[in-house]
Symmetry: D2
Subunit: 278 residues, 4 copies
């Protein structure tokens, strides 16, 4: 449906992340190889962290990313050590800025590839499950935004994996109550500006693709002559819907029904199991 | 907040309605005289009826009306005998097509000038009062759209004045439960493609302005030499947020807390009183 | 680069033309089969003739056609017996309404698939060749618009095939003076609201595809049971960048270096040869 | 027609420049006090200098500035020591990004309030006066952009005041040849990223307003208790179409037919006289 990229590491010019790679996200907006749709032209968004005293910035546009001049300008002038970027292929929802990922709440960002099955039927129940204090913040009409606020309601800011497991549990329970066979299809990334949590899961156990980049120290051993890998901070990590190029050994598929944590020190990968509501 | 116009009568080129009058709606988008805001530049919309076998058409844009070339093109090529037009001044909500009036459901159109007081606080309760079967149709974030679906829930298609009275009753009850002093401020127009119902009301009894045009036969007597009035169908009627010109005798203020019906035969005007929920 | 469609015949709802066919132009905006680019998402435009006392209407948008709600609305409410429609894939020029086809001058429309080779280098000379009285009407930055005004300068309104032959002659002469190997690649359609002229030509003799629909009386013989063909006016004709479906016998390739005329009575097809400037 | 602001000095968050002042530029977009038009809602643009190895960034939008969310986001995250900002009121030209100020060429920015008189008639001659090597860079249709490229043609990068005097001389000569009574009305700002040159002039000697802020050391003496003035770099200077507030002593009108230079060390103000072409 969509394509996304999450970056954490050495401060990088957003241009180097979005435009420079061989099979960049901008290229994927026009010619995705692994996506359910080859074209992701229904708007895009980026989110990035700068001044730590402020919430992350977001830039949302309803234009296709491939020809958006403002994105190119900004990408050439903004550096960040934590960037989320997303190109959208709408499954019918309106093309409007409030439907563009990443979504933001306080210092958190959230983006998603996939869908909540038959969302038109389950939307009301899912929105009702959102905490009333958070409800007024929902601005758009996407399944993703409701999913985010559901996760926030269920503790995202305290324990992201547990909150996402509970939110998926609610989505599956509500979906099944409405007769939806496969209530969720998802790769999701979320961050608080420090760590990134990335999830790959689907009710049918046939999830959209997700890849993470090989650790920089391993890349240095594989490619001792590549100056880029010498420069990068060892903590640098990319998580992407599809690889940004074809460098052997550089990309690793995230297994079905797992989630990963990109954090200071060793990154982690764990099984992901939805938690049904009590 | 906004400015609107409802027209019923002889088929008219939309251009003649929107651009030709001295103080046209397009002029009001840039220089409103009577509005709470002088500029109504946060998008616009038109709705019109054509082929009776189809629902009305709507055209929504997030650009200011005064310089929108597509609107000018369409206005010069589309004629209709029932037209709604609206220029928006947002009170904070997102500028997106799904927030542009008129809103449509089946063969009905709805538009509004004013606001639901403190909507952020009452939004969830008001949306919950919308029938679950209608809930998924809500696409934007405006108070107006929720008001429309509330009225539909409460019988708009069967008895518009009663349904609007009930919807306003719910809005006032919910608002007061949340401590809102003046829960609603409104001039509203709605139509099924045959008749138009227009309401002027506010909880504080100090409503936004609303005018209706003098009956064509009276205008003919007042201005026997004006060829326009000779041509117009006697049933022709305009309802507007503010007069489109300064012709003496041509415009009549709608009284506080009343509603009017534009229909075949004699039009009517009645007192409007909200009906509190049981 | 782009995809276009020209229709002349029985009055048709634009929706039936743009959305209903199996491989419709809207479908081609997302998944072109024969185009140089598979995605034509850099805006679109339609032009149509209504009231004969007025110039044709044009509707231009910078959004991709596949998800444009206003286009869908208008298409469902506007009928015409002569329609031009175009989906754009920019080769670098700005995405703005003034770069969207069809272009209009007086009662004429003009649209193009292809490009003027190395236009950045030849632009000034080509614009200088435009009549000074027409020059101020050029609003955008496309090669196509300059081509149109060049053809107007060289007599389009009097003798379209001759004027286009002269304009292409100028483009080739100017291009070659600037060292451009293949100065033009084109399929072009133009109309005065009565007849349509369609051209297929390229300096390298390897032109973009162009098809015209089979004459309605032939289609009736081929498909005696198809009610659509019984209804259509015998003069009905479609010219398209690529076929709208796979119906055997329904589509005919326009030969290399030819132009066709769709007109009352028998349509014509002739060789096309550029005329070099004296 | 438009309103603009040029800032040079201590690095400032763009938000503090555009949104925080009492009568900020964003406020002027909706409610200008001194402008020829009270509403400047036909798009906007900002330009700023960051990494000195790169050209300045520009961000252009066709939406009104007052409700543009991306502008607010960016303004809250980008700091710069040299910023240009402009809100546009079109006098008829298309609302498109390529018509938004500031315009950029290499490391130069340029913005303008006013107009070239009867530009439709003089446009071709003025564009012809642009150097052929610069001509292809002209992307929009504004008088301002042509004026900029004319000034570049006439030496802007070497001697800005002389080049602008020559460009205005050409505009006046061409205008008068076409019978235009008052060929130019202008306040213009241009910068190379180091110094700012600001011009106030009109053929009729009745120019649009222009103000510069009082030197910081004088403001410190006037307002010894104002902490802002203690923090600001003494070189900080603002040039604006209209004052950003009502602080007595803070704003100074630029005299008719003069230009100022904001530069390291003492700023300068000089008479401005157009230089007629030989």
């Amino acid at each position: 449906m969509c394509r996304w990229l999450a970056y954490s590491g050495s401060p990088v010019l957003i241009e180097d992340l979005l435009y420079k790679p061989t099979h960049s996200l901008i290229d994927q907006s026009l010619h995705s190889r692994l996506g359910a749709e080859t074209t992701n032209g229904d708007g895009f968004g980026i989110g990035w962290y700068g001044d730590p005293s402020r919430p992350p910035a977001v830039f949302h546009s309803i234009e296709p990313a491939w020809n958006e001049r403002n994105l190119r300008e900004l990408a050439g002038h903004i550096s960040s050590s934590l960037v989320f970027a997303h190109v959208r292929a709408s499954t019918g929802g309106a093309i409007q800025q409030t439907n563009c990922h990443p979504f933001r709440h306080g210092s958190w960002l959230w983006m998603h590839n996939g869908f909540i099955g038959d969302f038109e039927r389950t939307k009301r129940d899912l929105r009702l499950a959102v905490d009333p204090s958070l409800y007024p913040e929902i601005e758009g009409t996407t399944d993703t935004e409701t999913f985010f606020y559901l996760a926030l309601t269920l503790g995202l800011e305290d324990d992201p994996p547990a909150a996402v497991a509970r939110a998926v549990g609610v989505i599956e329970a509500v979906g099944r109550r409405h007769g939806v066979e496969h209530p969720i299809q998802m790769t999701v990334a979320t961050t608080n500006g420090e760590d990134i949590w990335a999830f790959r899961y689907s009710s049918e156990q046939d999830s959209r693709s997700l890849y993470f980049s090989t650790a920089v120290d391993t890349l240095r051993q594989l490619y001792p002559d590549n100056p880029l890998f010498q420069q990068l901070d060892v903590e640098t990590r990319l998580i992407v819907s599809e690889p940004l190029g074809d460098l052997p050994g550089a990309w690793n598929a995230v297994p079905e029904s797992t989630y990963g944590i990109v954090q200071p020190g060793a990154d982690e990968i764990h099984p992901f199991t939805p938690v049904a509501p009590a």
